[in-house]
Amino acid sequence: AGKDSADLVIAGSTTVQPIVTRAAEVYSKEHPDTSIGVEGGGSGTGIRMVGEGSVAVGASSRELSSEEKRAHPDLTVNTIAIDCIAIVVNPSNNLSNSSLSLAEVRDIFSGKITNYKELGGPDRRIVLVEREDGSGTRSMFESMVMNNTDVSDAALQKPASGAIRFTVSGNENAIGYLGIGYLDGSIKPIAVNGVLPSEESVRAKSYPLSRDLYLITKGKPSGLAGEFIDYLLSDAGQDIVKEEGFIRLE
């Protein structure tokens, strides 16, 4: 595995995976003697794997927990991109034309508002779609939107943002949240406080829901891991970030 100097394995968050995979693809083409493998497993697994040295780089969509910091004090967190969480509904849902306040989003997801007619829509039950417990996207959503209230336990949980998109695009009652990179024509984002999610609005700090994505290394990144992270932070690397739908670092 990562023992061979020309080999590198990156494991962890599936949110970060598209960026890393694309970058690995391009990077190995430019450096044919290297091989960069990408594994999933989720943020927690990835962090433990770097911590215990079974992979050189872990991908995470959340910051290290205090437990993780205690267990592996020598981990370095490298920010490589910005993600932004969009609240999405089915295109046929006319909520997509209006704007919600953060408080309204919170009321929807906490189960206080259960019918679209309470928001001025048709008389249809709201189907909530969220990410699973422990997901980086979810913890980000909860800390930025929910403000210590719980997400309703009637929410459907999905193991990936793509699955949220799939469910929302197939069910006109559904509302969910996902990374901006997953936006496409099959779903529609809702404006929050009158602002739609976009690179500009995030950068201008007018859209409230954004977070950083990380690659974790043991100590300062060095060797192939260091070169790869440097590449990601370079212009070419940040172009890939953008192509995959995420937001470039400044």
Partner: protein, 291 residues
């Protein structure tokens, strides 16, 4: 010539080592699952875990009863759907089917058994989920019912093949005795053959239940994964196995959350072990009766 004898000893010893492997693996599994799971009970009591119905890892709430109930409901639904169909098909194969029909149905069932569960999952996610939503006019088709339907399809082959075997091993004499009294095919089937094959069929059903409880991939895709106590078959739910699959990757390793997920694994492990023991009891008993 004496050398041959020694060679036999050596091979015998080597094979003995091989055959202990199964036991060693089983013990290792228990060890690792217990090691991963038991620390939970330093933080949460066993009864809170088994009887509580709030699962909020971030707040240290680890009640798993809704997962257990959902798993049982899904399994129950799958059995309800597949048993009548499965036994009918087994009777068909054992008694009614002409040669050509057997040659079509038998391989079809084997194929059904061979299809990977992830493919069933993807199929069900798109077809069965919308079918359920439209048919029952519910807010979402991702329900316990949808999971039961996929599972029913997946366990049909087990029920059919075990039932067919037990029906075919009912002594010919019973059958002839019934016909000689002027019974029709159907009377012979449902009054003599199926009752005589009963224990074997039940064993097959129990085995299938075990499989249903343990199944993960197909269920996680269609059941909706809602951590709320389900009220019925048309509610979404989350089973033990799907909770593990969903949360394992993101959980902080060695955290209480992580321990709790291992405990979720312990439950189907124990349930299924119990069922497999029950099932093999029944089959051996059955064999002894016919012998």
């Amino acid at each position: 010539m004496k050398k041959l004898f020694d060679q036999e000893r050596v091979v015998g010893a080597a094979l003995m080592v091989f055959s202990i492997t199964a036991l060693v693996i089983l013990l290792l599994i228990m060890l690792f699952i217990l090691d991963g799971g038991l620390p939970l009970f330093n933080k949460v009591s066993v009864s809170d875990f088994l009887l509580g119905d709030k699962w909020v890892p971030a707040k240290g709430l680890f009640g798993a009863s809704q997962f257990i109930v959902a798993a049982l409901l899904v399994t129950f639904g799958a059995i309800l759907l597949s048993v009548p169909l499965g036994i009918s098909c087994a009777v068909f194969l054992a008694e009614i089917a002409p040669g050509w029909a057997k040659r079509i149905v038998r391989p079809a069932i084997e194929l059904l058994a061979g299809i990977p569960s992830i493919i069933y999952g993807v199929f069900a996610l798109i077809i069965i989920v919308s079918l359920v939503r439209v048919t029952f006019n519910v807010a979402t088709g991702e329900t316990i019912l949808a999971a039961s339907i996929v599972l029913a399809i997946m366990i049909l082959p087990i029920i059919i093949s075990i039932s067919q075997d037990s029906i075919e091993s009912v002594p010919r004499l019973y059958k002839e005795g019934s016909y000689a009294l002027g019974a029709t095919d159907w009377q012979t089937i449902h009054r003599v053959l199926v009752p005589a094959a009963g224990p074997g069929i039940v064993a097959g059903i129990i085995l299938a239940m075990g499989r249903a409880i343990g199944e993960t991939m197909a269920v996680v895709l269609v059941i909706g994964n809602v951590e709320k106590m389900p009220a019925g078959l048309l509610d979404p739910g989350e089973t033990l196995t799907s909770a593990i699959l969903l949360e394992m990757g993101e959980a902080v390793v060695k955290s209480t959350h992580y321990n709790a997920l291992f405990c979720l694994g312990l439950v189907p492990f124990i349930l299924v072990l119990f069922m497999s023991v029950l099932s093999s009891r029944l089959t051996t008993k059955n064999k002894a009766r016919f012998a």
